[in-house]
Symmetry: C2
Subunit: 182 residues, 2 copies
């Protein structure tokens, strides 16, 4: 079973995080949700999620993908974390899939893993995306990087990750079951 | 500030619940999330949400809307709850907005509040919707009832509720900010 690590910091964007976790788990991905600082994380819109592991517990593990949801101040917390930087770099050197949506692609830009690659973000953060070849598409896949724009594109983002980890057949089956094709 | 009660039972559908809560809170609605049986609720796809109130704590309060997300076994728990029945009936007699998505409209059908009204549900539950005038539209508004179909229609459902409680201006502003118009 392919594995995914989703990192949640206080102030993560609710729809983005839950859409990613829900779709990947429906798609037979073993999803670990790690709290950046703690086992109880409060979303940008005040929902409290309890997890059983922190990022420190998964520090040395390599997953098939690492995913950063957006939201503020969640993204700022991710951006200021030395641990997030280490985890992203360790996965990048092994060619593992790295995915970020909304404000979070700017974390990848700062770390330096999207230099010269095609990438996108929430429109307001375009200026912070200094090293990439900026695109305004809803979801951008370039090499081992997947980036996307915001809450409204979260399902397309999740399906793009799932297609990479599982198959287009599984994606189509889920889109049908979840009524994305209706 | 308009008020909303979202009832979460173990096995609620993750995307549906979080999309409703996120969009309504962004839209200046005072959203109370009540656990049906407990203060810690596990979603259909294994995310644990912590809340500060149970339905019993809100038993006698009247909100501007009561919302039931879908998911299984969440919907079955809602369906078997005498307390949910009482809360829905108390709001219905006062003409308050009642909204349900995916599997949850069948709870409204069983309680009897959508008899003769236009309503929809997740396609597989069409047969369980015996008393209403069944529609296959993504979101159906009839009188004080709003029903919708599944995860892919959750944002349209949430925006329809918000339009009723706040304004179309607020809905359009949020759609723009969340990139639903992009």
């Amino acid at each position: 079973m392919p594995t995914a690590l989703v990192i949640l910091a206080n102030g993560f964007e609710d729809i983005e995080a839950m859409t990613i976790i829900d779709i990947l788990r429906r798609g037979d991905i073993d999803v670990t949700v790690a709290g950046l600082e703690s086992l109880s994380i409060t979303s940008a819109h005040n929902t409290i999620i309890s997890v059983t592991e922190t990022l420190a517990d998964n520090h040395d593990e390599i997953f098939d993908t690492v995913i950063l949801p957006g939201g503020e101040p969640g993204t700022t917390h991710l951006e200021n974390s030395r641990e997030v930087e280490t985890v992203i770099k360790n996965h990048h050197v092994q060619g593992k899939l790295i995915a970020a949506i909304c404000a979070a692609p700017r974390v990848l830009d700062k770390i330096g893993v999207i230099a010269g690659k095609r990438a996108t973000s929430y429109p307001a953060f375009k200026e912070a995306m200094t090293s990439c070849n900026y695109s305004e598409e809803a979801v951008v896949v370039d090499d081992n990087l997947i980036t996307s724009r915001g809450p409204a594109t979260a399902h397309q983002f999740a399906f793009a990750i799932l297609e990479n980890l599982n198959s287009i057949t599984k994606v189509n089956e889920l889109k049908e079951a979840m009524l994305y094709n209706a």
